[in-house]
Structures are given as structure tokens and as C-alpha cells.
């Protein structure tokens, strides 16, 4: 179901969490709300879920104004950052909770739960308690629990934030595939640009309670609307008012056709090599080159290289 947020504002005491935020999410889309902490992304998600009421503005799900309906009747599945497991219930009872409060017959609940547990690959753990599961398993249980009531909309608050790097990478990939399978409109909150780029079809970049830009990962990367988006999505060099992507900087061994620069440090990160440079006028920047290029140039500290800078991006000063 499509989601529309119209000019929503929210204040917590002195803190303006959201100022007149509007977004539209198409039916079946997988969208990321991306921003630093305090940017209002979680508040926006909670307002869509009905866990928070906006001071002004409207929330529409499938064209219907749900601004004043309680969370329980919005048809949303919500996955909390720390999974919010019901610790005194088994995995089965956790996942079946939504059906059980709807007074569905026991057999129906059992069937649906086992179907969901195999979807999230937790077969055989139905009788365990949440404390007996790993973080990643708890996360998948929380997801199954949210999906059990067949929500129109799935909302996830920093879904992978509390997991270690490897599990996080696996779950990202898995969420992506799950979304392809069940096609429920999904919004997830993250502060990790890589996660947003990898998983989402559409990214909404937020900062200071406002939306900076929204669009496909590629569009945001290639045509950032402003400084903030440029520096939040992907690495960036800043030379005065100009912004450069490190991988757009060309390094050459022969003279001419560019500025001279001193190699200050070389960092090998596997396939990628980071070369930290100092230009003749003292400005510092770093270039991202492949391992091959680095080998060809025989890059090492103290070396003088020629640097060819791309046309830098300059943003009009935001008012």
C-alpha cells in the first residue's frame, strides 16, 4: 500500500524533531530513511506507525487518512531496533501473538507460525525463548512476528544496527530477497549509507528534521542536491567550496596535465587503495585507486605524483 506523509511536524519540548516533512512511498517499494542520529528519521517512522502523534500534518496509508487512528488499526508491522521480544513467551507465541489477540483458532495460528518460521529460517526453534536466541535470530523472529498479521506496510527501525558486521551483511541481503518475495511496502531507518544504498530502491536523506533529498541510490550519488547529501552519501574531499569524490581523482606518474602532489600516506584496504595527498599549495585530499593502479604507479610515501582533478561540484550556499 502506498504511504503518504504530508507536512508533518513534531516537537519534543524544545527540540524540533520534524519540520513540515512530506514523503511519498509507492506501493510495494523498499525505501530507506537515511540520516545521522537526531535527524528525525526514527520519529518519522514512528509517526507513520502511529506510535507517535504528529503536532501538525497528515499520514495517509493507501489514500486513507490514518493520522488519528491508533497503531493497532493501521495494518503496519513494526520491527524495533532492539527487537522488543516478548521475553516470557516462546518463539512460537511471540510470532503468533498478533493472531492470538485477534482470537484466531489455535490450528490456524500453528500453521501460520510454522510457515513464517520457515520463511525466516527459524524452523525447529519454536519452543525456545528469546533469551536462547542470537541477535540475528531474535531479529528474524521480530520480523516474522510483524509479518504474521499480514501488514500492509512493514516498518523497520535500524533493523541491523545492533548486529555484528557479518550477520548484518547477511541479513541485508536476506531482507532484500524477502522483499522480492512478499512485496510488502517497506520503509527502514538507517544511519548507514552503504546499507541504504545496498538494500533500498529509494532513499530519503534526512537531516535536522528536514528532508534533504530523495531518489534512487544512483540518482543521489550522481546528482546530490546539496553539500549534505554529497558528503553523507559516499566519501568526499572538500577543497574550499568544491567537493570531489576520491575515486574521481586521477593519479599519473608523468609530469604535466595536472597539479603536483606529495604522497603522505598509503592505506591498503584490499582491492581499494587510499592515497593521502598534499597539493603544492598545502591543501590536503585523498584519492581512491585500485590496487592495480597503485602497483603500476608504485605509489609510496614521500613520492611526488601528478594529480588530475575532475570538475568539482560546487553547491550554492544553502540559506
Amino acid at each position: 500500500m502506498a504511504i503518504e506523509v504530508r507536512e508533518v511536524s513534531k516537537r519534543f519540548g524544545e527540540f524540533q524533531a520534524l519540520s513540515e516533512v512530506s514523503i511519498t512511498v509507492a506501493d510495494g517499494a523498499l525505501t530507506a530513511l537515511l540520516g545521522p542520529s537526531g535527524s528525525g528519521k526514527s520519529t518519522l517512522l514512528r509517526i507513520i506507525a502511529g506510535l507517535e502523534t504528529p503536532d501538525t500534518g497528515m499520514v495517509l496509508i493507501d489514500g486513507e487518512d490514518v493520522t488519528s487512528s491508533p497503531a493497532r488499526s493501521r495494518g503496519v508491522g513494526f520491527v524495533f531496533q532492539h527487537y522488543a521480544p516478548f521475553k516470557h513467551m516462546t518463539v512460537h507465541d511471540n510470532v503468533g501473538f498478533g493472531l492470538s489477540v485477534r482470537k484466531r483458532p489455535k490450528e490456524e495460528i500453528r500453521d501460520r507460525v510454522s510457515e513464517l518460521l520457515s520463511l525466516v529460517r527459524l524452523e525447529g526453534l519454536a519452543e525456545r525463548y528469546p533469551s536462547q536466541l542470537s541477535g540475528g535470530q531474535q531479529q528474524r523472529m521480530a520480523l516474522a512476528r510483524a509479518l504474521a498479521v499480514q501488514p500492509q506496510v512493514l516498518l523497520l527501525d535500524e533493523p541491523f544496527g545492533a548486529l555484528d558486521a557479518q550477520v548484518r551483511a547477511e541479513l541485508r541481503e536476506w531482507l532484500r530477497r524477502l522483499h522480492d518475495e512478499i512485496h510488502v511496502t517497506t520503509i527502514f531507518v538507517t544511519h548507514d549509507q552503504e546499507e541504504a544504498m545496498e538494500v533500498a530502491e529509494q532513499i530519503v536523506v534526512m537531516n535536522d528534521g528536514r528532508i534533504e533529498q530523495s531518489g534512487s541510490p544512483r540518482a543521489l550519488y550522481e546528482a546530490p542536491a546539496n553539500e549534505f547529501v554529497m558528503s553523507f552519501i559516499g566519501p568526499v574531499n572538500r577543497l574550499g567550496d568544491a567537493f570531489l569524490r576520491p575515486h574521481d581523482i586521477q593519479l599519473l606518474s608523468e609530469e604535466g596535465g595536472g597539479e603536483e602532489a606529495l604522497v603522505e600516506r598509503v592505506v591498503h584496504l584490499g582491492f581499494e587503495v587510499r592515497v593521502e595527498l598534499k597539493l603544492g599549495d598545502g591543501r590536503e585530499l585523498w584519492a581512491q585507486v585500485t590496487r592495480e593502479t597503485a602497483q603500476q604507479l608504485e605509489v609510496q610515501e614521500g613520492q611526488i605524483l601528478t594529480v588530475r582533478l575532475p570538475a568539482p561540484r560546487v553547491f550554492a550556499q544553502a540559506g
Binding site: F80, S131, R145
Partner: protein, 303 residues
């Protein structure tokens, strides 16, 4: 009464206490007091010695003096009509007060911890008052309000309702004195639990009442349980407030503690000691019941 293994719940141990203890055992690197072998031994000796002097010796003495002359006099003392009446009255008061204060306590804890009502601090202070005020003062205050010369005393007496010098007054006094226990034990557990799981239940379609029964109440059951144990123990043992409100009419408004004092003042030491042992046994049963419940729930998993 302490258990050395970390897994079983010590009688009267707070749930939050269990968690920190487990956490410390795992993070063994910190050199806290009691982490070294010698330090642990010394700490244990001091703690047990303190308990022995404070609690053990007097308890042992009471049991010893009670059974000093064999079982027959004890049996006679237990089955004395006034002793039995005192015990039933004590239990009756407990059975009325504990459910009342449990319901009130859970409600007040949720209001204080989750609510946004103005004057919360004042409300919290009021609930703590019985901790601060001497029970005797509580008793006197009740007499002033409900007694013959009190505010409603005359009107109530005209309707044939007696509160002072009868059971309703004693229930009131006991309820007042034990008011804070459930509230104060529930609030920290409620805070630790957080609101996430309740909100999760809400998004899954649970109505507020369903969320309370299925999520909130099971989540705070340890705090509530501990509060109930404290309330029961205190209600059984309450002396000051009940003493004033009851009028201490033999065989009518005498609870077990009042009976103990009555026997003691009448130089019936066997009667006094026996009644004291009855009180101690009732308290022990309360603690054991709680411990059993805790153990069963522990086995079921969860927390």
C-alpha cells in the same frame, strides 16, 4: 537462607539484583571487592556473622524457649481459642489487604512511571509517606478521622458502621502502612522493561487491556511478586497502627502480634513464644511460596 549457586533465586532477592550478579560473574576481569578468593571469604564471613547476630540468634532463642518444655504446652497454646482467633484474624486482614494493595500498587506504579499527569512527584511522595510516618501516628490519624469524636465517626456510628475498634479499621490501618511496597518494587522493573514490547504488542493489534494482561503484567511479575511478599510479611507483623485502631479486644480484634504482646504482658511466656513462632512460620510459608513460584517460572525459561 542464602544460596551459593548463582542459578537459583535467593529468598527475597530482587530480580534486578539477580541480573547484575550474573553480569558481574561473566565479566570477571574487573577487580571488585570480593573478586579475589580471600576477599570473598572475608565478605561472606562478615555478612553471615552479621545475619547470625541480628537474625539467627533471636530466632533460635524463640524457637528454643517455645519448645523448651516439650510439645504439649505448645499444642495447648496454639489451640487456645484466642490464639486461633488471632491467627485467623491476621490471615483475614492479609487476604483483604494484599489484593487491594497489589491492584492499587500496579496501577500507581504504571501511572507514576508511564503517565504524564501533573503532580506526579507529589503523588509519589504521598505514596512514600507510610514509610516515613510511624505506624502509631497512622493509627492515631485513623482514629481522628473515623473514631467516635472524628470527622465521620458520628455519622458512621449512626448508620451502624463501626470502623474504629473493629476489623474494618484494622484493615484500613494495615493497608495504609503497607501501601508503598508493591508500588516501589514495581516501578524499577517497569522502567527496566521499557515501552518497546508494549508498543510492539500495540502494532500487532493488541488492545490496551490485552497488552496489559499479556505483556506488561508478565513483564513486571517479579517486582510485583516481591512487593506482594513484603506486603504480606508486613501486614502479618503490623503492630503499631493496628494496636491503636483495634482497641485490642481479646478474642475479637486481636491479631497475632497483638496477641503476642497480650500474652507477654500477662506473664504467659509459652503463649507469647508460641504465637511468635506461629507468626514466624506464616512468614516463612510466604517466602517459600514465593521462592517456589520463582523457581517454577525460571524453569519455564523467560527470565
Amino acid at each position: 537462607m542464602s544460596s551459593s549457586s548463582g542459578g537459583t533465586l535467593t529468598v527475597g532477592a530482587k530480580p534486578s539484583g539477580r541480573l547484575t550478579r550474573r553480569g558481574r560473574a561473566r565479566g570477571g576481569e574487573a577487580t571488585t571487592l570480593g573478586s579475589s578468593r580471600g576477599g570473598r571469604l572475608a565478605l561472606r564471613t562478615v555478612a553471615l556473622g552479621y545475619l547470625a547476630v541480628l537474625l539467627g540468634a533471636p530466632l533460635v532463642m524463640i524457637f528454643y524457649r517455645t519448645f523448651e518444655h516439650g510439645l504439649a504446652p505448645v499444642w495447648n497454646a496454639v489451640t487456645a481459642p484466642n490464639a486461633l482467633h488471632a491467627m485467623w484474624l491476621s490471615l483475614e486482614i492479609v487476604l483483604i489487604v494484599v489484593p487491594l494493595n497489589t491492584i492499587f500498587g500496579i496501577g500507581a506504579a504504571i501511572l507514576l512511571e508511564r503517565g504524564r499527569m501533573p503532580g506526579r512527584t507529589l503523588f509519589g511522595l504521598l505514596i512514600d509517606m507510610p514509610f516515613a510516618i510511624s505506624p502509631v501516628v497512622v493509627g492515631l490519624a485513623l482514629v481522628l478521622v473515623y473514631g467516635r469524636a472524628g470527622w465521620f465517626g458520628d455519622e458512621l456510628a449512626a448508620q451502624g458502621i463501626n470502623i474504629i475498634f473493629s476489623v474494618p479499621g484494622m484493615v484500613l490501618a494495615t493497608a495504609l502502612v503497607t501501601l508503598p511496597f508493591v508500588v516501589r518494587e514495581t516501578i524499577p522493573v517497569l522502567r527496566e522493561m521499557g515501552t518497546d514490547s508494549e508498543q510492539a504488542a500495540e502494532t500487532l493489534g493488541a488492545r490496551p487491556w490485552q497488552t496489559f494482561w499479556r505483556i506488561t503484567l508478565p513483564g513486571i511479575r517479579w517486582g510485583v511478586g516481591y512487593g506482594v511478599v513484603l506486603t504480606t510479611a508486613r501486614a502479618l507483623g503490623e503492630f503499631g497502627a493496628v494496636s491503636i485502631v483495634s482497641g485490642r479486644i481479646e478474642g475479637q480484634t486481636q491479631t497475632l502480634p497483638l496477641y503476642v504482646q497480650d500474652r507477654f504482658e500477662n506473664f504467659d511466656t509459652t503463649g507469647a513464644y508460641t504465637a511468635a513462632v506461629m507468626l514466624a512460620v506464616l512468614a516463612l510459608i510466604t517466602l517459600l511460596a514465593m521462592n517456589l513460584l520463582a523457581r517454577r517460572a525460571n524453569k519455564k525459561g523467560g527470565r
